[in-house]
């Protein structure tokens, strides 16, 4: 199954003809780079017939910093802070992707303790990311209260990160062979105290927003992506799972401590905006379950198995590793020449870039307001698209 995408040039030179029965006119409307729905600086050129969306062409590149090219000058430990700045809402998972790839390629062993702490941290970050997404989606669709509640949880989880890592957003925590810092002695107690609270919060989210008639009307049966199409577009994460495809790297190729815990892969039924919304809420519950199973038995031991000033040289060849971030599969492809301690070439496979093209594939036919719902339900982070 293929999805044809016109280029911006083709769109700009195409004749504008309205084919609606009403006396409407076709317009080309720029949404962005500075636009509330842009969530950063994504430009979307929309061809409109009256209020109906005829065609959507995203124009990425307004935050393109050339991270992949920069990484060719950096050694593997120096690459990690730059992954924070791609998808900054799942910084820890991005760090993990690089660390995992380097560890697999260089044959570095990690301990149980390291993997358990990594998993707990990644799940906390997923909770934080989804809470933020929930708030922002509410705000996009006109429920400002949701924004305040979503950020309340973000701050509370953020306090744990601040204590352990010292950062609020750009974590730089998971390193090849271990962690940047050890956890504090009262870490487990604090997280355990937090979990029932977070469970209540998810229930509160349901009460606040899920039952709202206007909210449901704007999400249900809007922007349907069927499973085959989602897979053809290369979607991952909650977007593809909402279409009924049980693709979750945590379950399909378990890494970290995911192999040891019980959790469900949440899938939706038809793949509309509501499914994408609900899959994320259910994922928050599953994340809490995963942390509950791990938090009691954090093994003792060192927090890193290698010294950090050791030179890491990967064997010659192409190495690929991927993890499941809050938005989908984040992959790192490293081409190493086997001589230098820096990558010869490096590529990030970012989930948002593939998820972005869903708006092109499914928006035509919907109204502008539905387009907002669709883009909001995809949970896009623009620096991850542009890199």
């Amino acid at each position: 199954m293929t999805v044809h995408v016109r280029t911006l040039d083709e769109l700009l030179h195409a004749p504008l003809e309205a084919d609606s029965e009403l006396t409407t006119q076709e317009y080309l409307v720029n949404m962005g780079p500075q636009h509330p729905i842009a969530h950063g600086s994504l430009r979307v050129v929309v061809r409109l017939d009256g209020e109906t969306v005829k065609e959507v062409i995203p124009v990425p590149g307004y935050v393109h910093r050339g991270v992949e090219k920069m990484c060719e000058h950096l050694n593997y430990r120096q690459v990690i802070p730059y992954t924070d700045r791609l998808d900054y809402l799942s910084a820890i998972m991005n760090n993990w992707a690089v660390a995992k790839t380097v560890e697999t390629a260089a044959g570095i062993e990690t301990s149980d303790r390291i993997e358990v702490i990594r998993t707990i941290m990644a799940e906390l970050q997923r909770l934080q990311s989804h809470a933020l997404w929930w708030g922002v989606t509410g705000m996009d669709l006109g429920a400002y209260t949701a924004f305040l509640y979503g950020f309340r949880e973000r701050e509370i989880i953020g306090e744990i990160f601040e204590e352990t890592i010292g950062a609020r957003l750009t974590m730089n925590y998971i390193q090849p062979g271990g962690l940047m810092y050890d956890i504090k002695p009262d870490f487990a107690a604090k997280v355990k105290k937090l979990l029932p609270y977070l469970q209540d919060c998810v229930e509160q989210y349901e009460t606040l927003l899920s039952g709202n008639v206007i909210f449901q009307e704007r999400l249900r049966n809007v922007g349907i992506v069927d499973g085959a199409r989602a897979v053809a577009l290369g979607c991952t994460g909650p977007v593809v799972r909402a279409s009924g495809v049980p693709l979750d790297l945590r379950a399909t190729e378990p890494y970290g401590a995911y192999g040891k815990v019980q959790f469900n892969v949440v899938v939706g039924s038809i793949g509309d905006c509501w499914d994408r919304y609900y899959v994320r809420l259910e994922e928050m519950r599953e994340s809490i379950r995963i942390i509950q199973q791990l938090i009691d038995g954090i093994p003792e031991g060192p927090y890193s198995t290698i010294r950090y000033n050791v030179e890491l040289t990967l064997p010659e060849g192409i190495h690929y590793g991927q993890v499941e971030t809050a938005r989908g599969a984040f992959g790192v492809l490293i081409a190493s020449d086997g001589k230098q301690e820096i990558p010869y070439r490096l590529h990030f496979r970012s989930p948002n870039f593939n998820n972005l093209w869903v708006v092109t594939a499914i928006s035509p036919g919907w109204r502008i307001a539905d387009f907002i719902s669709i883009q909001s339900s995809l949970d896009l982070v623009i620096p991850d698209i542009d890199r």
Binding site: V63, L132, F151, L169, T170
Partner: protein, 211 residues
Amino acid sequence: MAITRLDAAINLARSNSLWPLMFGTKCCAIEMLMATGAAHHDLARFGAEVARASVRQADLMVIAGAIVKKMAPRMRLLYEQMAEPRYVIATGSCAISGGPFMYNSYTVVRGADEVVPVDVYVPGCPPRPEAFFWGLLTLQRMIREGETIREPGVRRKPVMAALPEDVSLHEIRAEIRAALANENVIDVTQAANQKPWARKVREWIQRASLR
């Protein structure tokens, strides 16, 4: 009954009702515009919570994140569309100097002040919301002691609103007061036109209007 200059009254009103523009490019936007706007940190305490999506209604541009060459003309355009008096806060290393993307990056503009004149710099990667508040307070102070209606656009030189380590709040206040007490002024309009990107953007606008 208090007697004051008209300038002082106007500046007091301006400083306490800054309307920020909803404009973020990167990670700093989460911290600067969203986390500060939410309940925990609450930008409303400083009278600056009315985040506007339209440039024409905003008078404070918070540059949150790296500005790349593709974005620079657009940001310049946004700046020129804002109504005067307009203020700019550059938050985070990327907006100050290019930050982590200073070396080896082929797209990042090394500092947003190459594109638009910046009033206050808030360092950090990203800065904490508290640091941003300090930058906002510094800007408010600059506005209150700043330009007059006789000479619009002539105001204090930019200030780095960094919170130094192991310094008490009194010392910081004294330092900022001393920095602001200097007679260093800058003509913002003139400075804006001298920026290297100004000419490029003018050409760009001309080309667009010809089309």
